[in-house]
């Protein structure tokens, strides 16, 4: 192939409506460029081999090579008016191809770069985003992915080729020619929808609860807690010594749930006495309320949750009586977690099942002192983008941080060591989430999921 500089090839179905919409609602547009958080390829000529650290991304039909690219989009506000994938062919002989490949969305965004092989590859199962014809060596190409990347979140793109003379692109390991996702968004006025913010595993003798309480000072809305409100034993004096001076100043707008440390005091009397009616009927620990278009249920994972138990029966009746189109629930012990300290609590599954049966949308846990976001899942932990419930572990409210063990399937984002609060904006038919870090820290995670 010649070394001539290739023209920028642009493949796109221009989305006129998005551009028009942007013009009418946005004062200004912002463009942000993201590099992949993971990329790799698989090869059916070496089915057990992982190529995650390679500088190349191959696509070919003989031997079959497929490439996978993952981006995490964060910090984008307003509607996305344009998103394009930019990808660069390698500057080596043979990287050129008559067929640059077909680019498709993928539902699996939890694969890791150094574990994917031909044998265990994630399915390339989403909409076709575009395809590239002839590609030459050492050139940039673009694929319009506006239909897929609609806001903050994690996105996977799979690339295949029907040509036996495949193409080789530069991977994220290659530096300046790594793949890019260029996102243009308009700024929109802040919505007036209800804000629902909180964390679990909160107040102890350390300073973490002070840092997270300071975040609440600047965030309006209803405050939730996912248990272990105060350490070590949930006594009245610990509530007044540790919780009251920090999160306690937001008590009037707080709807808590109890954790195992709250139950170190027999019957969690310290918890029920401190929160009073805001914790629901005293001694029971489960209750519900509405916010805007949302029905919200606070549950108690320290008592029986079995199918047929009083709590599970109450939950099913409560959900059946709700007229709200969107539903959230929260409790302490996580059904889904990759934390190294506490294994998933399978005893909570009947509660998750009842919520799934009622088409609920969102569940938040605590217990492991860290942050983790899972894809929408069914009660067995299977990926379920149709009816699944998106879940979070939000145990970063103040207590000492925990590590992670083996990362579980469908885990999409994680952090330990950053205390913070998880802020939800509850729209009429969707919710936005945003991890808000303590002062001085930078980790964040945000996105949007639609209600069922």
């Amino acid at each position: 192939m010649s070394r001539r500089r290739a023209p920028l090839a642009v493949l796109s179905t221009v989305i006129v409506t998005a551009a028009t919409l942007t013009a009418s609602t946005a004062a200004q547009a912002a463009t942000t460029t993201f590099t992949p958080t993971a990329d790799t390829y698989v090869d059916n000529g070496s089915t057990g081999t992982n190529h995650g650290t390679s500088g190349q991304l191959g696509v070919d039909n003989s031997p079959v090579k497929r490439s996978f690219i993952k981006f995490t989009v964060s910090g984008v506000s307003g509607a996305v008016s344009n998103a394009k994938l930019r990808i660069h062919t390698d500057d080596v002989s043979g990287s050129e191809s008559p067929n640059g490949g077909s680019f498709r969305a993928m539902s699996n965004v939890s694969w890791t770069e150094t574990a994917v092989t031909w044998n265990n590859q994630p399915a390339i199962d989403g909409a076709t985003l575009g395809s590239l014809g002839q590609v030459v060596r050492n050139a940039w190409y673009e694929v319009d992915v506006t239909g897929y990347v609609t806001g903050n979140g994690t996105f996977s793109i799979g690339v295949t080729s029907s040509s036996t003379d495949g193409a080789d692109y530069d991977s994220r390991e290659s530096g300046s020619t790594a793949p890019q996702l260029v996102v243009t968004s308009g700024t929109t006025p802040p919505p007036g929808d209800p804000v629902w913010v909180g964390a679990g595993d909160i107040a102890d003798s350390g300073s973490g609860d002070t840092a997270t309480a300071a975040l609440l000072d600047t965030i309006q809305g209803t405050v939730w807690t996912t248990g272990d409100n105060v350490y070590p034993d949930g006594t009245a004096s610990q509530f007044s010594t540790y919780y009251e001076p920090t999160w306690g100043r937001h008590k009037a707008r707080t709807r808590p749930s109890p954790g195992n440390h709250d139950y170190h005091t027999s019957g969690a009397t310290g918890y029920y006495n401190y929160f009073g009616a805001q914790a629901g009927p005293s001694g029971r620990g489960y209750y519900s309320y509405d916010l805007g278009n949302w029905h919200i249920v606070s549950l108690n994972s320290n008592i029986s949750m079995a199918a047929g138990s009083a709590q599970e029966q109450w939950l099913r009746q409560d959900l059946a009586a709700s007229t709200k189109p969107c539903t959230a629930a929260y409790w302490h012990h996580p059904l889904f977690t990759s934390g190294a300290n506490h294994a998933p609590s399978t005893a909570t599954r009947p509660l998750f099942q009842a919520l799934y049966d009622a088409n609920a949308d969102l569940v938040v846990f605590g217990h492991n002192h860290q942050y983790e976001r899972f894809a929408p899942q069914n009660p067995s932990g299977g990926l379920d983008n149709a009816r699944g419930i998106r879940s979070f572990v939000a145990g970063m409210g103040g207590a000492g941080a925990y590590g992670f063990g083996t990362i579980r399937p469908n885990s999409e984002a994680r952090n330990t060591g950053t205390r913070g609060v998880l802020k939800f904006t509850l729209h009429d038919t969707s919710f936005d989430w945003q991890f808000v870090p303590e002062a001085g820290k930078t980790y964040t995670d945000s996105g949007t999921t639609h209600c069922h």
Partner: protein, 317 residues
Amino acid sequence: MDKRLIVTLAAAVLLGGVATGYTALSGAAPEDAARSVPAGAGPRLMVLSNGKLSTVSRSDPAGSREVTEQRCDRAYSAAGTISCLRPVGALKAGELAVLDSDLKELKTVPLTGFPNRTRVSASGRMVAWTLFVDGHSYAANGFSTSTGILDTKTGALVTSLEEFAVEGMPQRPVDTNYWGVTFTSDDNRFYATMSTGGHRYLLEGDFAARKVKPLGLDDVECPSLSPDGTRIAYKKAVDGDPQKGWRVSVLDLATRKVTELAETRSVDDQPAWVDDRTVAYGIQRDDGLNDVWAVPADGSGAPAVLVPEASSPAPIT
């Protein structure tokens, strides 16, 4: 032994492979696929790639890797014996699986707790493990561990080192915990950590005699004996306080001289010797992925990533 393990791991990949195409990941056990042994494969390192048993080339450990579908939360291997602490499943408690180099299951031992450490003696005969039973951190108060040893040759199984007599202590203190076994080359003596009264002593054990003997050295956790048998790499609590983290260090057994290695970050791992000059260990990132790092064993140099996105290193020799 190297070559055979490489070949047989590849064969296991072959058996565990897939021929059904695109949707291989959806959960079912993969079927089969053909592959050949990587050309020019030399000595390798076994690691876990997010819980999957894998191998990388010793000469290019950050390069491509062979990934099997065998799941372990912690693993080690020596001389064709693989110890794999399998995770707790939906319907099944955790267990130790002893595998041969074909990944054929030779023995399983049901275990309760969170997998934490495992080790195989250099000959491949002796296997040890440590699990957390209560609590899940060596820095916490009130945790307890369970440490056991299996002799794969005789089948002798010690489910808890607490069964062993403690030399110099007619009555073993009730707060005793053991963790982090490493074996000597005679397949009988071993080293481990014994914790009691807020101290974490190095002990020497005698499997046949069913006894352990504290060596009078405090703050030696998760010992790992060098291939030449002269030194122990371990984690040493900073200022004697595990809550402050651990410094990876090397103890010369003859002189009792302690050398702090060049890694200054906290290391909570049982180190592994890649060779007589190099100590490897895992460090977790904020997002829960781990990297295997290596640092010279004499205190010189600087730590460097040996295998990115991996944990539980073991040289396959």
